[in-house]
């Protein structure tokens, strides 16, 4: 077993204005090189916050209370700012939730891709352009020249996502965090994009943290899974056991809420109120213990 590249330990964050109300509650999670790790939970669970912490791009209103976020052994939360930006830029890339906001609407794709390549890899303009073409080929874009000359709005949703995937892999990162990269896509396009992400991840041996609310997607591409509820990890296991034998009642309920056309009667079942209530009770107990320990 290789050491994890991403190692988050006991991470707690909160709004500066409400330090007693944690948005992430002692979250631990790690991803080894070459591993695809799913991070799953309902909207508001804190998935995007975890992603933002890894890149140190939390909203200004939010502060880290405790914990560490190590990339290749170095804790980005305690590093000097310049070293931290360097480390993150050279080792990690984010495929964000909304491809349209991730791309600058008034610049052609070419400039946006080559900027990154010149900045991080120190390539010349010409070399960066060649590398961009090569990357677009790698993500199976048939006419890379046209795509480079396009503005983001001239591309379909699936095409924009391909561009972002190509950009994410541009600097051969050790870690990619993909935040709901297929949520807005049609199912047939989603499947192509999932296949592409899996193919790229395997070829480059990247550690991949895949954020989603859909356990169907988790089942198809993740080997390890962390289930998040209310900013708290309720289960952290391998995908096989998660689906065969969920340990936490909330995980079982989330599986039962997922649509299944083959078993309609036991799918799409709302998470029972008792499960939500008992999970919150666990969280409140943990909150009390945490507050006690910090005094």
């Amino acid at each position: 077993m290789s050491a994890p590249f991403l190692d988050i330990a006991d991470l707690s964050i909160a709004l500066k204005a409400e330090p007693n109300h944690r948005l992430l509650r002692s979250v631990s999670l790690n991803v080894a090189p070459g591993e695809v790790h799913g991070l799953v939970g309902e909207s508001g669970a804190g998935k995007t916050m975890i992603g933002k912490t890894i890149f140190d791009i939390l909203p200004h209103a939010v502060t880290v209370l405790a914990g560490s976020v190590r990339l290749g052994g170095q804790d980005i939360l305690t590093m000097r700012h310049r070293d931290q930006r360097q480390l993150i830029a050279h080792t990690s890339a984010l495929i964000p939730q909304d491809p349209l906001t991730a791309l600058n609407p008034v610049r052609r794709i070419a400039g946006q891709m080559t900027d990154r390549l010149t900045a991080i890899l120190g390539l010349s303009r010409g070399a960066a352009r060649d590398r961009a073409l090569q990357l677009l080929n790698e993500v199976h874009i048939a006419d890379p020249e046209r795509v480079l000359a396009s503005y983001p709005h001239q591309l379909s949703g699936g095409m924009r996502q391909r561009v972002l995937i190509a950009s994410a892999f541009a600097a051969e990162p050790k870690l990619i965090v993909a935040d709901e990269p297929t949520t807005a896509l049609d199912v047939t396009v989603q499947k192509q994009i999932l296949r592409l992400i899996a193919e790229m991840q395997e070829r480059h041996g990247t550690a991949l943290l895949f954020i989603t609310h859909d356990l169907g997607v988790v089942a198809k591409i993740c080997r390890k899974v962390t289930v998040l509820f209310g900013g708290s990890v309720v289960e952290d296991t391998d995908a096989e056991s998660l689906f065969a034998q969920p340990k936490h009642p909330y995980t079982a309920a989330l599986i039962a809420a997922t649509p299944r056309y083959d078993r309609p009667e036991d799918s799409l079942l709302p998470v029972p109120a008792e499960v939500i209530e008992s999970t919150w009770q666990e969280i409140r107990r943990a909150d009390a213990a945490w507050a006690e320990a910090r005094r």
Partner: protein, 274 residues
């Protein structure tokens, strides 16, 4: 057999082409729906699925006559509404309700939830007084599973799932004969989707609602819909009862959509299979 609530024959719709702007002539039209025909029986929930751009929204909006057809005929409750103008449609508006995909943009941000539901009741004369409208709104909130205190809240204070409940409440409070639901669970996570779909299932049996349920996601229509229409490129490829459609898709495109749904079970071959 009673007459269908909706009957659609040879329906065609053309809209001005947004990509072409000649200087001195009107925009050329592009045909978006091509001779579509189907029926919806009273009390039936019919799904419409297909990839984005296939014409689902255009079809729904044409049925409730927010768009003028260029050809064919639409009969609603035995009446020809194909070319009725806004004035002639007014008495039917109450019976043709729409719930939109994005409730935040379709709900007035300055109206409380209570007033959002009460206003149309007064407008359509379902309630005779403000206090009657208020009571009806409160009762409807309860039906869609929101606590009475939500009456005083504003849309931005609600979660996506709660806003969708308000959209549903606003529509069903009017006791319409037909509800168009366009992608109403598409922006929601799996667990809110499950809640909204079971709410609709309950309303279907309790209120005998007739619904056209549009979704780009085939997986969510299996439980709710009696029948499913599969669309592509402005045409109907398949229109059959839900069970048989899923068990034995007739059109290869339906089979492709079904195969692209990721079931929550480990299957190492799924990703590679086309």
């Amino acid at each position: 057999m009673s007459a269908p609530l909706f009957s659609v024959e040879g329906l065609s719709v053309a809209l001005p082409d947004p990509n072409r702007k000649p200087l001195f002539r009107p925009r050329p039209m592009v045909e978006i729906l091509h001779e579509i025909g189907f029926e919806i029986a009273e009390g039936e929930v019919v799904g419409v699925v297909g990839e984005s751009g296939s014409g689902k929204t255009t079809l729904g909006r044409t049925l409730v006559r927010l768009i003028d057809p260029t050809g064919g005929a639409i009969h609603f409750a035995g009446t020809d509404i194909t070319h009725r103008d806004d004035n002639a449609l007014r008495p039917l508006r109450r019976d043709l309700q729409v719930i939109f995909q994005d409730p935040l943009s379709s709900l007035n941000p300055r109206l409380t939830v209570g007033r959002t539901i009460a206003r149309p009741l007064l407008f359509h004369g379902v309630a005779a007084s403000a206090s009657e409208a208020h009571d009806l709104a409160a009762a409807t909130l309860e039906i869609v599973g929101l606590p009475p205190a939500f009456s005083a809240r504003y849309p931005h204070e609600l979660s996506g799932g709660q806003r969708q409940r308000v959209g549903i409440a606003r529509a069903i409070a009017l006791k319409p004969r037909f509800v168009l639901a366009d992608e109403i669970v598409s922006g929601l996570d799996v667990s809110s989707q499950a809640q909204i779909l079971s709410l609709l299932e309950r309303l279907k049996s309790e209120l005998k609602l007739t619904v056209l349920f549009i979704s780009h996601d085939l997986s969510v229509v299996r439980r709710l819909c009696d029948r499913v229409i599969v669309m592509r490129g402005g045409r109907i490829l398949e229109n059959r009862p839900t069970g048989p459609l899923f068990d034995h898709p007739e059109h290869p495109y339906t089979a492709e959509l079904k195969a692209a749904i990721p079931l929550p079970e480990i299957d190492p071959d799924w990703l590679a299979a086309t």
